[in-house]
């Protein structure tokens, strides 16, 4: 670093940072960010606390205002003791959305959690390794998908699950999601990659882990729908988006995968591609968390060119027109739609409802603005399971009262929770879109 280097993200030139944008610097050791100045924006109104789903069901949880601006403001350079309650934050990020004053709450939480895991959690504890494995779901999924049938049988063997809870703190209440017998990437290779070539309509697909290993039908729906609209698709080398790693305070793991992703996708952006995600937490990571937490070259570019799949089509195509002419087979199927918290933060919480309103053959009912409660790996932890279900209760009730017996959401873990709490089959909006436009 030369004397002239500024302390902020080298990817962003000095004069392009607006004056009022909060900008952290490296003060604390090993590139931990100094977020104390983020507390300047907080005037303590407590709107974040009243919107926090964990605080609502857990009186012991001090809430996002404490975890964020208050805890940071009380910090001195040499202090290392982050309160353990940071591990009870589910990283739903609703506080970001609730804050009227742009306090970088989830960024503060992510940094504090990473610091707590680094300084306060024993690297020999079961909790650490349980969290580490959950956070690195992709590694396990890679292995499991080599022998999908065997893994699926073992993972949902009752006594084995009980043992998993006892030894490892994984709740025995949930059924493991099944691995697909063919991953999305295997399918993509088998079909010979892109079937549409285009000079000006090009997207790079960030499928994430779940659509690759568990629900390739969602990824396939994305491919078929985008090709239907004439897009050339590439599926580049990629790792995990980092979402489960942020939520478990494993920022080093997340940085490693972010480096792969940013290098992969920023090259494609230079060639005219935009980045498309089918999971709203993945798009959230690329858009918000990467720029907040990492200073990898190309981060700002990737953040600016990343979109959720439906969002992108709504911007660039006449989706309503196309759907107005389409219809879905079946007799007026009703879908109980839940907007994931991370979709909400990207302003996407109404898109599925608005989009399918005019589609014949399907009805969409919004089941309200509560959090599903699973928050990725959170609801899989034995000690968090009850809390997770208590948070989800409101959504379960709304689903129960909804007309349909099928659910819909963009987020794979929200889908698990919806299925777990209601017994409904859960679909992804892309699958509905594919059914209406491509198959229909």
């Amino acid at each position: 670093m030369s004397d002239a280097d500024s302390p902020h993200d080298p990817g962003v030139p000095n004069d392009e940072i607006p004056d009022d944008e909060f900008e952290p610097v490296d003060v604390f050791p090993e590139s931990e960010l100094d977020l104390r100045s983020g507390a300047d924006d907080c005037y303590k109104c407590s709107t974040c606390d009243t919107n926090c789903p964990v605080a609502e069901v857990d009186d012991e949880f001090p809430g996002p205002k404490f975890q964020g601006p208050e805890q940071w403001r009380l910090k001195r350079k040499d202090d290392a003791d982050i309160d353990p309650s940071i591990m009870d934050c589910s990283n739903c990020m609703r506080c970001d959305d609730a804050c009227p004053s742009d306090v970088p709450l989830s960024q503060m939480h992510n940094e504090a959690r990473a610091e707590y895991v680094e300084e306060g959690m024993s690297k020999l504890s079961v909790e650490y390794w349980r969290n580490r494995i959950l956070a690195n779901y992709r590694k396990g999924a890679w292995l499991g998908s080599k022998f999908p049938r065997l893994t699926n049988t073992l993972a949902n063997n009752g006594p084995l699950r009980k043992l998993g809870e006892k030894l490892f703190g994984l709740t025995a209440e949930r059924e493991f999601p099944a691995f697909a017998t063919q991953t999305f990437r295997e399918w993509w290779a088998e079909r010979g990659g892109a079937q549409v070539q285009s000079e000006d309509k090009r997207v790079a697909y960030f499928h994430g882990c779940y659509a690759n290993y568990n629900t390739p039908e969602v990824a396939k729906a994305m491919v078929r729908t985008f090709e239907h609209f004439g897009y050339e698709i590439v599926v580049p080398e990629q790792g995990c988006s980092g979402t489960p790693m942020f939520a478990n305070g494993m920022l080093d793991d997340a940085r490693r995968d972010a480096e792969t992703n940013i290098s992969s996708f920023s090259e494609l952006i230079d060639e005219g591609y935009d980045v498309i995600c089918s999971c709203t937490s993945c798009s959230m990571a690329l858009r918000q968390e990467y720029p907040e937490l990492f200073t990898i070259e190309g981060t700002a570019d990737v953040a600016a060119h990343t979109y959720e799949a439906l969002e992108y089509l709504r911007i660039h195509e006449d989706l309503r027109g196309a759907l107005g002419d389409a219809e879905i087979d079946g007799d007026g199927e009703d879908l109980a739609y839940h907007a994931p918290c991370h979709a909400r933060n990207q302003g996407l919480d109404r898109q599925a409802v608005e989009l399918f309103r005019d589609l014949d053959g399907v009805g969409v009912e919004d089941v309200g603005d509560s959090c599903s409660g699973i928050s990725g790996t959170y609801g899989w932890k034995a000690e968090k399971y009850e809390k997770s279900m208590a948070i989800g209760e409101e959504m379960f009730e709304e689903m129960e009262e909804a007309e349909g017996q099928t659910g819909m959401t963009e987020c794979p873990t929200c889908a698990m929770q919806m299925e777990h709490g209601s017994g409904y089959e859960i679909r992804h909006p892309l699958e509905v879109l594919e059914a209406a436009l491509v198959e229909g």
Partner: protein, 566 residues
């Protein structure tokens, strides 16, 4: 004369409290009177710098040597009041290279350890430093909490039998047969702990010797006995930032000037200061340009200050003094040395000694000097022990590292509580009942507030300086009323309300100099909350109709509400 010689100390600042402790430890019967709460005058209005002496190493080497010596003493005896932050003298390209070298040489001559850093090395320590800062000298500056230090001195004095009377104003010095024999005082709410809504009383306090340690007010006290003490009060502004932009004291490396220091203080940074002579230590203008100057000038060292949130500004008056006929024109040039004025020698008036001038960092040394002098006059042979015996709270340094538990508190609150309370932490925090956080900005719990109330009665400003409650970003918006609530049931509603009103006024006094950007939003939110939940914009609730009819709520004007149904 009683067997035990008695001394009346006037002034509850650092010097007065230091003297009270010193004399009490020597077995003298000490009474201290202070017109406000402890630190009410200049002590409570300093920027919290514990001088390594670096600032004086060129112009005033005698002071510099005293500073480094006393800094080491305070690190030992007042560890819970001191934060060893280290300091930097930073040089911008336009600052003189020659002065930088002189500063370095001066420090060496005064035995102040230094380390020269390149601009880059300085920025590695403090990343917010301006990119064009080209060199820096690291010195062992520190930060000190003047409130805690004063209160600890007073508490130690009390433990050694001293009587401490705050909110007690001296109305006259008693002169009998050409000798000062005591003072007439008025207690704001009777002697003892301050209690709002309690009638004041007057008292004659007789003493073998009276010490005038009233700093900028020393001329006023002197006049009561007909002696002339020409204090030249000089005001300086200090601006408080919401968070710590730096964890090291940042000085600008150039000869005297305005706005050249940033001190990390507890959860905040304090920018200072100016130096302008004023006529009256209690009545001088507080002007916005002074605050603007702090931010503008210090942004040259820390550009981030330009956009950062300030939460308040305050002014203090230095008790500068120079012997008659020195004739210094500019207050910045008046010496920071202290003067002991023995009025017997000087004015032919025995029984009275005045101490003026000096610096906070060397308060203990000044107290030792004057105590030596007075003991000499009184024939007391005991020697000073204040440099060796730690203050209450600093007797056991292991507390912070000790795994003594978190008292059921979240880690940052437990840590801050221990930093404030020192070795008193377990006594104060180990309580029976629930111990909620009352001031969430500063992490102050009920137990700590109750401990402070025990020490200072209904005076919530005294509670504030002991605990830091209401000193954070909301400036009491979210906790002032809860602090007042803590006075109940020992004190009644009227007393709590009066105490709350006074705290509000004090918080508002400084906050009104920071009303733009986020702090304006904060003030508006606090206003709206207090107006809508406590009717604080509407005057007292007055069901009996005996109060001010214009402001009382007219409940009769409310109807029964709209009838229900369509």
């Amino acid at each position: 004369m009683a067997d035990t010689p008695s001394v009346l100390v006037i002034g509850g600042g650092s010097t007065g409290c230091g003297i009270a402790r010193d004399l009490a430890m020597r077995g003298v019967d000490v009474t201290l009177v202070e017109q406000g709460n402890l630190t009410h005058g200049t002590t409570g209005r300093m920027h919290g710098l514990l001088h390594s002496g670096g600032r004086y190493a060129v112009a005033d080497q005698a002071s510099a040597r005293e500073c480094i010596q006393e800094t080491h003493v305070l690190e030992d005896i007042a560890s819970h009041c001191v934060e060893e932050t280290g300091g930097l003298f930073v040089k911008r390209p336009e600052d003189s290279e020659a002065y930088f070298e002189r500063k370095l040489r001066g420090c060496a001559e005064c035995d102040i350890p230094t380390e020269v850093l390149s601009g880059r090395e300085a920025r590695e320590r403090e990343p917010y430093l301006a990119e064009d800062v080209d060199r820096a000298i690291a010195v062992p500056d520190g930060a000190v909490d003047p409130f805690r230090l004063c209160v600890a001195n007073a508490a130690s004095a009390q433990n050694h039998g001293a009587r401490i009377e705050t909110h007690t104003e001296v109305t006259d010095l008693l002169v009998e047969a050409g000798e000062v024999v005591g003072a007439a005082v008025r207690h704001g709410s009777g002697p003892g702990k301050r209690t709002h809504e309690t009638a004041g009383t007057t008292e004659r306090i007789e003493a073998d010797h009276v010490i005038n340690a009233t700093g900028a007010w020393a001329g006023r006290i002197g006049k009561m006995a007909g002696v002339d003490v020409a204090v030249r009060p000089s005001k300086g502004v200090m601006t408080v930032m919401n968070v710590r932009q730096v964890d090291t004291v940042i000085n600008r490396c150039k000869p005297k000037g305005n706005a050249d220091i940033v001190v990390p203080h507890e959860t905040t940074c304090i920018l200072g200061t100016t130096d302008e002579e004023v006529a009256d230590p209690e009545d001088y203008p507080e002007e916005q340009w002074e605050v603007d100057l702090m931010i503008e000038e210090l942004s040259k060292l820390l550009p981030v200050l330009q956009e950062a949130r300030t939460i308040r500004s305050y002014w203090g008056v230095r008790p500068l003094y120079e012997p008659p006929d020195s004739g210094t024109a500019d207050s910045e040039d008046i010496t920071r040395d202290f003067f002991l004025l023995d009025h017997a020698d000087r004015d032919g008036l025995p029984g009275l000694t005045t101490i003026v001038g000096g610096k906070f960092t060397t308060y203990r040394m000044m107290a030792e000097d004057i105590s030596d002098h007075v003991c000499d006059r009184l024939g007391v042979s005991a020697t000073c022990r204040t440099a060796e015996v730690p203050l209450p709270g600093s007797r056991d340094e292991r507390v912070l590292d000790d795994a003594m538990g978190e008292f059921g508190l979240t880690s940052p609150v437990a840590r801050r509580s221990k930093q404030r309370l020192g070795d008193r932490a377990s006594d104060v925090l180990d309580t029976e009942g629930p111990n909620p956080v009352i001031c969430s900005c500063e992490g102050v719990t009920r137990a700590e507030l109750q401990d402070a109330i025990e020490g200072s009665g209904t005076d919530l400003n005294a509670v504030r300086i002991r605990t830091r409650a209401s000193m954070g970003n909301c400036q009491g918006g979210f906790c002032a009323h809860a602090m007042a609530g803590e006075l109940h049931p020992e004190y009644d509603a009227e007393q709590a309300t009066a105490a709350l009103d006074e705290l509000y006024q004090e918080r508002w006094k400084g906050q009104r100099h920071a009303l733009w950007g986020e702090q304006l939003s904060q003030a508006m939110l606090s206003y709206a909350l207090h107006a809508t939940t406590m009717n604080r914009d509407g005057g007292a609730l007055d069901p009996t109709g005996t109060g001010d009819a214009d402001h009382a709520v007219d409940f009769a004007a409310f109807d029964g509400g709209a009838s229900d149904g369509d």
